[in-house]
Amino acid sequence: MHVEEKLTAETFPASPEKATLEGKNKFLGFWLFLGGETVLFASLFATYLALRDKTAGGPSAEELFKMPLVFVATMLLLTSSLTSVYAIYHMKNFDFKKMQLWFGITVLLGAGFLGLEIFEFNEYVREGHVFTKSAFASSFYTLVGTHGAHVAFGLLWILTLMIRNAKRGLDLYNAPKFYVASLYWHFIDVVWVFIFTVVYLMGMVG
């Protein structure tokens, strides 16, 4: 199928993200990129695990982390992953308006998560948990902050796609772009599941 073809709900392919060669390349290339990202985060996690007890006199994980805030943030991000699934479901059914709606909800939830994270970091700084304090602080902020930067980038990305394509609707040129952005969003979510477990749960329980 050709990229610039005008399509209807009937002619729209079942997997629009892989219907063109460009789409297929994007799809595979992005999965491979996520493979590299996995190694990147694995390195950050490994370092955090090695340094998380090295507080150098600063506040420790048990003293800092508070379940309610982190729990709400986690729920927001997990839900945003679900709403992005709905968006892609509607994309595959060639329902552009509903796709935009669900991506919009995804962005709102993601922004909520990011807001809570900024609030959380701000609290920690006031309690003396600053980046330069200890190896624990450096590795904490780098791991969680790298994830947060991914969230921010993902928000900008999805918003850009939504605004850029608002008037022209779906075609085989932008369908792979939406799909790949949703893959990225899921990846961010999976990384957060590990951060929640390794950083927060293990930090509070021991």
Binding site: G29, L32, E37, S43, L44, T47, A50, A56, F131, W157
Partner: protein, 621 residues
């Protein structure tokens, strides 16, 4: 708007190369930039050897010597060997699989410019207060204490060029998986394509740990982090692990393409199918896999304990098995073949004993207990130069001679090529063979001098003389390039007459669309099969039609320039108030260009059937 065969002014040519997304032109950019850094790294090597020519020499002393040796290693690995490997991959791999371009032409250009700006940034350190001086491995225990900005140049420059390499890796993986011509199954891919495939996978998984290690060091040095600083609870050994988790696969990232290049050359100039093709593929994949299991053999003396040392020692020795398989396959490819000793073939034949020696000393180093004696001595220096020069540099020189006609349309002069080879081959062994013994006699690496009367004088003098042989070889090569460019003999499509793979089926240099019609591949050595059946060209897999091409773009250049500017800003942000603004400004340039790339549609353009017919006629005539 086709750009086929049109005479252009100098400005237009420069603009063409700044904006190109054509893999063949990007290959030339990689070759020029990598070649330039190779010359710089070579000069640094000469300075090192001049300093060590006699005891108590004062040519290059102390801190300056440290900078030169650090930049020699860093430049040669990251800025010479890597891009030259990428030059070969870009020039050849898409054509070998019957594709019109790589999967992501835009990313391909971006990868080059990131590497280029990273390399320039790193080398500007010479003019801005001093180069990095903690060795190419830049162990944190040294580099955190290094005054000035040398290490910051290393940390930021390598991050930028590392992104470029990562993109290149992903690009070639997708290209090889998705863009193969009909009939080009995995087990019909030429060996160099296989090597590129496995290498790209190694890049994908090896470069992120380096990036993370560099980010930590950047945080520690520029933003008050405590990752490696024991006073803040940090641990310098983390850098060593992250560096070598990258660093050891890096050795295979360099040497697997070298194996691929030699596999092509052995088959072509023995006029025989590569012996044991499927075992070659298997060995390549196995080396790639094992390459990730052995990083801690660089750290035997750190004190990991006997069990960890033993595991890594055994895993390291295991790599000798698939490598041995390859060596025997190359020998059996030549066995009974109709051998032509062209320049590339001379390098290939010389590579076998040279590289085997590097492999044998590698197994010696792998014996953890014995390594306590070799560690940080010239024995190790000799070992890795036998592997990297005897393997990788020989392959790059061989590949440059072999594919030069394909890239530039002219044959390099064979006589000058052979002079280059003999000078380089003799110089190489003269320089490094004696270093094994210097190391065993106790000469430590990275120390700028030695005392008289310890039996080290003669060996060091011989070594220095050898280095000048290699310098002479390089000069002859440059002369060859100039003469060839000025009045070389025009190369035919099948430049060597014995080509086996698809790149020898298209014109030299190939048209921008590579294949007028995508070929149908009917077996391993696709062109050879057609030639054996008496056919003039390839069997087409599609009717002649319009060809879709990607648009050129200046954005890859600007995206990379933004990071280059940002790196300066962040490096100076502690001393100057403008630092932070410049840093953020640079990042905004990069993000803004990425935004433009995202919102501006890029559908490419078509070369029409008639233009293709016209161009193809021009070639045949």
């Amino acid at each position: 708007m086709s750009t086929l065969a049109r005479k252009k002014g100098v400005g237009a040519v420069i603009w063409d190369y700044l904006t190109t997304v054509d893999h063949k032109k990007i290959a030339i950019l990689y070759l020029i930039a990598g070649g330039f850094f190779f010359l710089i790294g070579g000069l640094e090597a000469l300075f090192i050897r001049i300093q060590l020519a006699k005891p108590n020499n004062d040519f290059l002393v102390g801190g300056l010597y440290n900078q030169v040796l650090t930049m020699h290693g860093t430049t040669m690995i990251f800025l010479a060997a890597m891009p030259l490997v990428f030059a070969m991959m870009n020039a050849v791999v898409p054509i070998q699989i019957g594709a019109r371009d790589v999967a992501f032409p835009f990313l391909n250009a971006l990868g080059f410019w990131l590497f280029f700006f990273g390399g320039v940034f790193l080398n500007l350190s010479w003019f801005l207060g001093g180069a990095p001086d903690a060795g190419w491995t830049s162990y944190a225990s040294l580099s955190l204490e290094s005054p000035g900005h040398g290490i910051d140049f290393y940390v930021l420059g390598l991050q930028i060029s590392g992104f470029g390499t990562l993109m290149g890796g992903i690009n070639f993986l997708v290209t090889i998986i998705n863009m193969r011509a009909p009939g080009m199954t995995y087990m019909r891919m030429p060996m160099f394509t296989w090597a590129t495939f496995v290498t790209s996978a190694l890049i994908l998984f090896a470069f992120p740990p380096l990036t993370v290690g560099l980010i930590f060091m950047m945080m520690d040095r520029l933003f008050g982090g405590n990752f490696y600083n024991p006073a803040g609870g940090g641990n310098t050994i983390i850098w060593e692990h992250l560096f070598w988790i990258f660093g050891h696969p890096e050795v295979y990232i360099l040497v697997l393409p070298a194996f691929g290049i030699f596999s092509e050359i052995f088959a072509t100039f023995s006029k025989k199918r590569l012996f044991g093709y499927s075992s070659m593929v298997f060995a390549t994949v196995l080396i790639g896999f094992l390459g990730f299991m052995v990083w801690a053999h660089h750290m035997f003396t750190v004190g990991m304990g006997p069990i960890a040392n033993a595991i890594f020692a055994v895993a390291t020795m295991a790599i000798a098995v698939p490598t041995g398989i390859k060596i025997f396959n190359w020998l059996f490819t030549m066995w009974g073949g109709n051998i032509r000793f062209t320049t590339p073939m001379l390098y290939a034949v010389a590579f076998i004993p040279s590289f085997v020696m590097g492999g044998v000393t590698g197994v010696m180093n792998a014996a953890a207990a014995a390594d306590y004696q070799y560690h940080d001595s010239y024995f190790v220096v000799a070992h890795f130069h036998y592997v990297i020069v005897g393997g990788v540099v020989f392959a790059l020189l061989a590949g440059a001679h072999y594919w030069w006609p394909k890239m530039f349309g002219k044959m390099l002069n064979e006589t000058l090529g052979k002079i280059t080879f003999w000078l380089f081959f003799i110089g190489f062994h003269l320089t490094f063979f004696i270093q094994h013994f210097l190391g065993l006699m106790g000469m430590p690496r990275r120390v700028f001098t030695y005392l008289p009367g310890q039996g080290l004088e003669t060996g060091n003098l011989i070594s220095t003389v050898g280095a000048f042989f290699m310098a002479a070889a390089t000069i002859v090569l440059l002369v060859n390039v100039v003469i060839t460019t000025a009045k070389g003999q025009k190369a035919e499509a099948d430049a060597w007459g014995d080509g086996r793979t698809l790149e020898w089926a298209v014109a030299s240099p190939p048209p921008e669309y590579n294949f007028a019609q995508t070929p149908l591949v009917r077996g391993l050595d696709a062109l050879w099969i057609e030639k054996m059946e008496g056919k003039k060209g390839l069997t087409p897999a599609e009717p002649l039609g319009d060809i879709h091409m990607p648009n050129p773009s200046i954005l890859p250049f600007i995206i990379s320039l933004g990071l280059f500017i940002a790196a300066f800003g962040f490096m100076y942000h502690n001393e100057y108030s403008w630092g932070l603004f410049v840093g953020i400004g640079g990042l905004l340039i990069t993000l803004g260009s990425m935004f433009l790339r995202s919102v501006i549609d890029d559908h490419g353009f078509h070369i029409h059937k008639e233009e293709v017919l016209e161009a193809e006629k021009g070639v045949k005539a």
